[in-house]
């Protein structure tokens, strides 16, 4: 089975994760721009972060045969530093029309402050102007109200719900999101977001239309294999193969594919790992080493 993880912060993950994801069937991933675990203090670090996502991270993924896309935006936490936020807003037009940028994201509310509201709205306008989907981060605290507000503001700014992916849903928010015609994404993330057993029951109850799952794996305790693991659990527990395919692959493609920057042919027509990249040296596959995913089983005690 092929999978797409439409929300994963690979910049924080190791090559072991890339290798494991590829082995588990992940063919494409979307990395939303978010925060790095500690607030940045300079606009230049955002510029380097965005160009890292469209440059080096895209390259790193390609070495493992995975297509890497991203969404670009100013996250809600750091929107609270207004002087910084102003400078970052000026950078966004340089990045949103790059190839492989499949949306503006992840944006929305965290503490639901006035500053967060201001930059959320400005970025909705930007997304509308350039015709890109929006990937919304919904707050951890006061979640249901924050989720509903995110959608109401998006509608107020004239966005079509079919172009908006509302992320980090749970049992309490899913109905509101689906009823309004938005995409409902679920993050399978231990302790704070969804568990995969609960996710299985949500799909049983609501079906597969406009629902997708992701790992949001980052620098916290999280699981980059959350999408394939959840898909397998759903199959085991009697969810149809068609529904599993929709929530772990097709819906993400349909939603973000509206950007015109993500097509199934991007990975179906690529022949495994690009041979011209296989021998790249300096950091990842040192000095002509053959990637282990191609050599199959190996003695894990031996390092050559």
């Amino acid at each position: 089975m092929l999978f797409i993880d439409p929300h994963v912060h690979m910049i924080s993950r190791t090559t072991d994760d890339y290798e494991a994801m590829r082995k588990a069937g992940v063919v494409a991933m979307i990395e939303p721009a978010f925060w790095m675990g500690q607030p940045r203090t300079e606009a230049g670090t955002f510029k380097d972060y965005y160009s890292h996502l469209i440059g080096f991270e895209r390259f790193r993924a390609s070495q493992f045969g995975i297509k890497h896309y991203c969404t670009i935006g100013l996250n809600s936490k750091e929107a609270n530093n207004e002087a910084l936020a102003e400078a970052v807003m000026e950078l966004l037009p340089l990045f949103v029309l790059k190839e492989g940028v499949v949306g503006v994201g992840e944006i929305g509310y965290d503490d639901q402050t006035a500053a967060e509201d201001k930059y959320y709205r400005l970025q909705l306008d930007l997304a509308k102007e350039v015709g890109l989907p929006v990937q919304i981060h919904t707050p951890h605290r006061d979640k249901r109200k924050g989720t509903i507000k995110s959608m109401e503001v998006a509608l107020e700014h004239g966005l079509d719900p079919s172009l908006v992916i509302v992320d980090h849903n749970n049992e309490e928010t899913v109905k509101d999101v689906l009823d309004r015609g938005f995409w409902a994404a679920f993050t399978i993330y231990p302790h704070t977001k969804m568990g995969n057993e609960r996710m299985t029951e949500i799909v049983r109850q609501y079906g597969h239309e406009r629902i997708m799952i992701n790992s949001a794996a980052d620098w916290g305790i999280s699981d980059p294999l959350a999408v394939p693991k959840t898909a397998h659990l759903m199959l085991e527990r009697g969810i149809s193969e068609e529904s599993v395919r929709m929530v772990s692959y097709q819906n993400a493609l349909d939603a973000f594919g509206q950007s015109g920057q993500m097509q199934e042919s991007d990975w179906l027509e690529a022949t495994g790992i690009d041979q011209s990249l296989k021998y790249s040296g300096n950091s990842i596959l040192r000095g002509g080493q053959t990637p282990s995913i191609e050599t199959g089983e190996k003695d894990s005690r031996i390092i050559r």
Binding site: K47, Y50, S51, I54, G55, F56, R58, F59, L91, L94, F95, L97, K98, E99, G100, G260, S276, L277, Y279, S280, G281, N282, S283, I284, G287, G288, R304
Partner: protein, 289 residues
């Protein structure tokens, strides 16, 4: 009719291969690039209008490229790359400093394929002597595609990089297992410092029990000495033919009498060499299979 300059040439090979809306879009952009912002926007969205198909070139086309800019051959370029090269050449500016400032900004916000195009375009840009630091920076990249864009089939490094940066480019190509035979002007810029570092690297690889490209010895040939000829002797003991061919080619480029003597001890190899059965090109082509 031959093109008057690089931009005319790029348009001539590109336009017949673009879809009609792509032709209209590109001509409109080139006629209306008035501000920095116009340029950044056009540069980013170019592939949406031009597609990314490989450019198809006749031999005459390739010869014409060579006539306009020695060492330039867009044989492996795609339609979006040619369009972007045209846009970069048309950056609106008044002074060389301003041109470089805009170029730096587009480099610092570029995605993977934009970086590849920018580095591959360096030999076509105005104020070539001002891009030396940029080219040296490109050599430091970890992204294989980006490295290849500057190191392979690109005349800029040969023409402009100072010796230290040039040597880094060649050494990094060896380290990253990139094909040396595709480095433009490699033989012309061989030097003793480079040969010595290459030999040290060969010793390191042998000590580690790792493979080594036979192309490395291409750097050593003219600098074979009484000291390092024992490395060539070792190479001649290799079970692999391609390594022996590399040894023979290196020896043939040396004026040292010991080198000539050593080659004579392998009459069959010497005969094949003189018959032209192999050369550095065939060794390079055979080395990365």
């Amino acid at each position: 009719m031959p093109a008057a300059n690089i931009s005319d040439y790029l348009l001539k090979i590109l336009l017949p291969q673009l879809p009609a809306p792509g032709v209209t879009w590109l001509q409109k952009q080139l006629d209306n690039l008035k501000t920095e912002k116009d340029f950044y926007l056009a540069f980013s969205v170019a592939p949406r209008y031009t597609g990314k198909k490989p450019i198809i070139l006749s031999e005459t086309d390739q010869q014409e490229a060579e006539n306009l800019r020695a060492g330039f051959n867009p044989q492996n370029w795609t339609t979006d790359q040619v369009a972007r090269a045209l846009l970069v050449r048309a950056i609106p500016h008044e002074t060389p400093e301003q041109y470089v400032a805009i170029l730096n900004k587009v480099f610092s916000t570029a995605d993977l394929s934009e970086l590849v195009t920018l580095y591959a375009s360096l030999p076509l840009l105005p104020y070539p002597e001002r891009h030396v630091m940029r080219a040296a920076e490109g050599v430091r990249t970890t992204m294989t595609q980006v490295f290849d864009a500057i190191a392979l089939n690109n005349p800029y490094p040969h023409d402009y990089l100072p010796e230290e940066a040039w040597n880094q480019l060649v050494l990094k190509s060896i380290f990253n297992v990139r094909p040396l035979y595709r480095i433009y002007g490699l033989d012309a810029r061989r030097n003793e410092a480079l040969a010595n570092i290459a030999i040290d690297y060969a010793h390191e690889r042998w000590a580690a029990g790792r493979t080594l490209t036979p192309e490395l010895w291409r750097l050593v040939g003219p600098f074979i000495s009484a000291e390092n000829i024992k490395d060539i002797q070792r190479l001649l003991q290799s079970p692999e033919n391609i390594q022996k061919e590399a040894a023979a080619l290196a020896l043939a480029e040396s004026n040292l009498p010991e080198a000539k003597d050593l080659l004579s001890k392998f009459p069959e190899l010497k005969k094949q060499l003189q018959a032209g059965d192999f050369n550095w090109q065939t060794v390079g082509e055979g080395a990365y299979k």
